[in-house]
């Protein structure tokens, strides 16, 4: 482009620039229009637990396939707490309709919801998930008791009747039947709902079984404080919090084959060739043993619906009914095939009726 050549495109350039200014104006105008159009959302919005995410994805996909008149719901993840927080932001098309949670909604969250105007919440329990303990596929298998985990991970344990800083360095120190591996436990981080279950069903149970709880109470702590102290995890690097998802835990095990990871049952079922599962209290985890209650470490999975959105967001009630239907959440459905532990028949029927009648919490 010479100086003389520069003259030729200049007309074009001006036109182009003028046109793009015009387009920008149009775009901004359409923004304003969109603001008003946003009131009419025709797609269900779901957010919450990453444990529930795969199930919600399967249902969303099948829902879109089955109902020609509704669009497939949009599912976000991000954790139970984050999902419920979004859920409690208020009522209206710009807020989400359904929150997935791998734990029950807390009192404080219900309160926060009510303050923002989300008063009628329908709670739906759709199944159970087991929490499994697994090591690398090539490693030895373990037979854990909750006590072992407590003794391995607690910051303080009782030795000779006295509370001392946890002296255990290897799994062999914890239980003579275990190999002399350096303790390296990859446990879910505190933002995960799984962590709460792990604390309650494994650490606290182990605390009681090992007699530490008793020693704490005898040492002058009240019951509540002792319970809280039981759920603490040592901070010297032997217990590693995983804030990502199970694929990260799997990668950690691959790099440290003497580590032990905590996984969801469904993740394990999809990676049986890479992981060796440990038994807990003598029971091997499976859909059957979790369903029967034999396997001790499991938790219910929920989703929460805003009643105010039913009838406003098209397909919301149908989605909820479809989710808990026998076809989806039943024993032969795709959710069970993925690793969900279905509700027992009578409980499932109760839930289906509750969804049908739009029974809200606290009614």
């Amino acid at each position: 482009m010479s100086t003389t050549g520069a003259k030729a495109p200049s007309g074009k350039v001006i036109k182009m620039i003028k046109r793009s200014f015009l387009m920008a104006t149009v775009a901004i105008a359409s923004l304003a229009a969109a603001g008003t159009a946003a009131q009419a959302r025709d797609q269900i919005q779901v957010a919450g637990s990453s444990t529930v995410l795969p199930y919600a994805q399967i249902v969303a996909e099948e829902f879109g396939k089955t109902y020609s008149n509704f669009k497939s719901p949009v599912v976000e993840s991000g954790g139970s707490s984050a999902g419920l927080k979004q859920f409690c932001q208020g009522v209206g098309a710009e807020t989400i309709d359904v929150a997935n949670a791998s734990r029950k909604i807390k009192e404080s969250e219900v309160k926060a919801c009510a303050e923002a105007g989300v008063k009628d919440i329908i709670e739906v329990k759709f199944g159970y998930d087991g929490i499994v303990f697994a090591s690398d596929a090539k490693a030895d298998s373990f037979a854990f008791e909750p006590k072992d985990w407590f003794l391995a991970l607690a910051p303080q344990i009782v030795v000779d009747g006295k509370l001392v800083d946890n002296p255990n360095k290897t799994w062999k120190d914890v239980n003579p039947n275990f190999p002399a591996w350096e303790i390296a436990a990859y446990i879910p981080g505190e933002k995960h709902g799984t962590r709460e279950v792990f604390e309650e069903k494994v650490l606290e149970a182990g605390c009681e079984a090992s007699g530490t709880m008793e020693a704490m109470i005898a040492g002058g702590m009240d019951k509540k404080a002792a319970g809280k102290a039981c759920m603490q995890v040592r901070k010297d690097g032997k217990a590693v919090d995983i804030d990502g998802d199970y694929t990260e835990t799997l990668a950690r095990l691959a790099s440290n084959p003497q580590g032990i990871g905590v996984f969801g049952l469904s993740f394990y079922e999809n990676n049986t060739d890479k992981l060796k599962v440990a038994t807990m209290s003598g029971v091997s985890p499976s859909v059957e043993t979790v369903a029967s209650g034999e396997y001790p470490v499991s938790r219910p999975l929920f989703f929460y619906i805003k009643k105010a959105h039913i009838g406003v967001i098209p397909g919301l009630k149908e989605y909820a009914e479809f989710f808990v239907s026998e076809k989806m959440a039943g024993e032969d459905g795709p959710l069970a095939a993925y690793g969900l532990v279905p509700l027992p028949a009578n409980e499932a029927e109760e839930v289906q009726n509750a969804v049908k009648n739009e029974t809200t919490m606290g009614m």
Partner: protein, 439 residues
């Protein structure tokens, strides 16, 4: 000075051909050689990592472009699809498509239909997405009903993983995703030629899915396209206009200095902050829909604007003042001088900067997290107001999925994203080479 020259030893040392001087020269040359070696070592180090990155990604990802499919003689039996003779969309939608595909499968692999366990094993060989595949065929041409036609149907993700070697055959049956019977069926089908790997068009035509074999990038590609369009339509005019004003018209005073510093600061703000801003302004205040690619585009526009302004200003500064003065000298107004002479000459630089800004925006995930674009979206959006995802987001979501098939798809999607980035960077280089002027 005098006593320096008086010192005979020093005089010798300063002579150019003395031993000391030669030693110093050698030392200087050695230092230069060492510096060059450091440079080469640094380059090799960077290249080695690039090579490792590309080989791992392409090594794991190339199989994502192939997909295992069964060739089945499917009979579109009228009594299964539309028993009451009705052929409206709802009937066809709810028809038992799985059954006609499965019947065809039982025949070729010789499965005993009466045995419930065996039937279940056989069903697990076919993808859950085949019903959509068959339904769309019939919806497109209803004449198929009553005919028999060979169709390539998607195999289930584990079958695909087995054919690609991602599932170990030698581990015990109870820990393998496919049991011995299924393994035998798969091997027989491969021998017969009715199970083969075909080019995976689905990777580009499907939306999100919970199963790897029916998961594709279309929603992400469309979403990224809408976002890039929004960014190009908003960031370019606004950014270029701001740059022209600041560079050519604005008085140089404290205020413009302050603005300049702030633009530079804005370019360094972590991208997640723009996401928070987008959530507060566009979704909560303006009421735009969550998960919409328009909102993503707006947030990315905010993020790209400083880059565009800085690049445009640099390009405008690079145009020599003589051009402006010449134009003004022959009687052009300031605006004419800028738009007729300076801007056309600065345009290649502006475009290069803009494209690099777009490339940066295309690879961004963090700001999209807050505004709901990290989501599972099945339906392909037709407007920027409908829910969508973006390419890097899809990579992130696939990376955290449990199924084996998503591992290769994560790498496959990375290849696609890298492809787009490569094309855009090449375009920037081309524009620079083709139109750039040096003075």
């Amino acid at each position: 000075m005098a006593d320096i020259t008086a010192d005979p030893a020093r005089t010798r040392a300063r002579a150019w051909n003395s031993d000391e001087a030669r030693a110093r020269t050698r030392k200087r040359y050695a230092a230069e050689r060492r510096f060059r070696m450091y440079g080469i070592a640094a380059l090799c180090f960077a290249t080695a990592f690039l090579v490792i990155l590309f080989t791992t990604i392409i090594g794991t990802g190339w199989t994502a472009f192939l997909q295992s499919k069964f060739l089945l003689n499917v009979t579109f039996a009228e009594d299964v699809i539309a028993p009451d003779g009705k052929r409206d969309e709802q009937t066809l939608r709810l028809a038992n498509w799985d059954k006609i595909a499965r019947t065809a499968l039982y025949q070729v692999i010789g499965a005993n239909e009466a045995d419930r366990k065996e039937r279940k094993d056989a069903n697990e060989l076919l993808s859950r997405g085949i019903d959509v595949q068959l339904r769309d065929m019939v919806l497109a041409s209803p004449d198929l009903i009553g005919q028999t036609k060979p169709v390539w149907l998607l195999a289930q993700g584990n079958v695909d993983a087995l054919l690609k070697g991602a599932i170990d055959r030698d581990i015990p049956e109870d820990r393998r995703q496919l049991n011995n019977r299924q393994l035998a069926w798969v091997d027989a089908a491969v021998d017969k030629g009715i199970l083969a790997k075909k080019f995976n068009t689905g990777l580009f035509t499907f939306g999100a899915s919970s199963q790897p074999e029916t998961a594709g990038l279309l929603v992400a590609i469309v979403g990224s396209f809408f976002m890039m369009l929004t960014v190009a339509l908003l960031a370019v005019p606004i950014g270029v206009a701001a740059a022209i004003y600041l560079e050519e018209f604005a008085p140089k005073n404290r205020w413009t200095d302050l603005i300049e510093v702030n633009i530079n600061n804005l370019a360094a703000v972590p991208s997640i902050v723009f996401g928070l801003l987008g959530l507060a302004v566009f979704i909560s205040f303006m009421g735009l829909p969550r998960s919409a690619s328009l909102v993503g585009g707006l947030v990315l526009t905010l993020m790209t604007l400083p880059t565009v302004i800085i690049a445009s200003r640099a390009a405008l500064t690079a145009v020599p003042p003589s051009i402006r003065e010449g134009a003004l000298g022959v009687g052009a107004s300031k605006m004419q001088a800028v738009f007729h002479h300076v801007l056309p000459l600065a345009l290649p630089g502006i475009m290069t900067g803009t494209i690099l800004g777009l490339v940066q925006a295309l690879g961004e995930t963090a700001p999209l997290l807050m505004i709901g674009l990290v989501a599972f979206v099945v339906d392909v959006p037709s407007t920027p107001l409908e829910p969508a995802t973006a390419l890097p987001v899809q990579i992130y979501m696939w990376a955290s999925s449990a199924e084996r098939g998503f591992v290769e798809r994560t790498a496959g999607a990375t290849i696609v994203l890298l492809g787009f980035l490569f094309i855009m960077n090449a375009l920037a280089v081309f524009l620079r080479r083709r139109f750039e002027r040096r003075w």
